[in-house]
Symmetry: C2
Subunit: 252 residues, 2 copies
Amino acid sequence: MTKGPQFQPVQPVRAYQRIVEQVEDALARGDLTPGQRLPSERELVAQFAVSRSTVREALRVLESNGVVRSRPGDPNGPEILPFSQAALRKQMVRLARVDELTLSELIGFRMIMDGAAIQVASRLRTETELDELEHTLVAMRDAIDVDFAAFGEADLAFHELIARISRNALIQTCNEVVRGVVLSLISDKIAHAPNSRALMLESLHHHADVVDAIRTGNGHAAARIARQNMFDYYAGYVPDSEQETLRALIED
Amino acid sequence: MTKGPQFQPVQPVRAYQRIVEQVEDALARGDLTPGQRLPSERELVAQFAVSRSTVREALRVLESNGVVRSRPGDPNGPEILPFSQAALRKQMVRLARVDELTLSELIGFRMIMDGAAIQVASRLRTETELDELEHTLVAMRDAIDVDFAAFGEADLAFHELIARISRNALIQTCNEVVRGVVLSLISDKIAHAPNSRALMLESLHHHADVVDAIRTGNGHAAARIARQNMFDYYAGYVPDSEQETLRALIED
DNA sequence: TGCCGCCAACTGGTCCGACCAGTGGACTAG
DNA sequence: CTAGTCCACTGGTCGGACCAGTTGGCGGCA
């Protein structure tokens, strides 16, 4: 067993990295808040005592991370952005294609998250939130007569409301991100399904059942219905060999 | 109701962005795979017909996204990296501090993910995987006599194994990322808990109960035990006002 | 007086050329 | 055949330059 002062491998710290760190730290400390502006690039050159190239590389990193946004000609300078899921989704999309995330894994993830959100929501929901859920059901029914995109939006509103009632922003964010990734993979297939209207109707009925279960406080049943619904909705696009893992999520 | 050719707001596409897109697309198509090398910056200048500043800004974005890594003096050029959770974690940490993600939301998320993974694992596990689980329990028991960090590692190994058995890499990744975020927030508090040894022992017993439930195929019970364990382990660090949402996750 | 249109002073986006400290392979001397 | 040197090339940084676009103020017009 070796002992000693556990040295860490030291890698050179680039100048633009330290600029990024300073900005992010200021943001973490609250010295910088969304909506505020950064000085102009040329002003930052003076403050950080580096060249404009270096400042710009730091700004590109911050911009890519969704921290700031630069607009040409804006006299106020780069804008500090509020957090957005765009960056998180970017990472997940990359994870989906590089690490060969399968569709069944994404759908299984959604079944878990949505089921859990519904289970929690059935406990914490207030009467007014229950009314809101009813309203989203009406909106979904109306959307069926419009087109598939409208139905998708209404469905999104339903699940966003569920996530909000569950009082967990992380569930909400992950749900939306993964939902976006799934749809980007198979939305065209769904839209061209011959029996899309029947699918929408069935999905609507499932959602209504979920709301009923939530009303009676039966979170376990509500969650099971929701998972079953999502399975029925997506299972057709999942290879048979992968469906077993999804079925394991439906069990009582 | 307005109709018409649905014009999209057009924002200028920066040159470095199109370079980033080309590289990411090549990666998505498989023309570029992890381990391969990009041409040198000066070579990219020629291929993309832009200035070196532009190439470098694109490389900084790619590097910040965890796609490539540049090393000074490397004659082989920037390296294409395999996916890492570092970028995903970075986004979540940012989400945690900017959007004021509460500790209870993070813990609730882990309770859900870990519980679901255990539920699925109890169905899909093989005999050899069951043996592996037993081994991680032994490792945890041994680690208690070392120190808290060792116990944390053994605990991590347990949950990673669970996630692997659940056959869902997304669960695995999210679990590890969120776990990292949680620990970065309260690891110091846990390490200085006066009764840390008692906590570790109790946690070990809970884990053993989980494995027993998995062995008998009782996924529902296993998941409930796991969620209860995580609640007991972390609840002390969560404000009373937020504990209600976590309790909603333990119910039968 | 009040409105409108022009203009100048910015902004960020891109390009160029240069220098530096490293790296690593080829080449040479032993 | 090995060990040491050397040099071509790498990425990191710098400074200056030009362009197109935005913006706000100034001046002229109604």
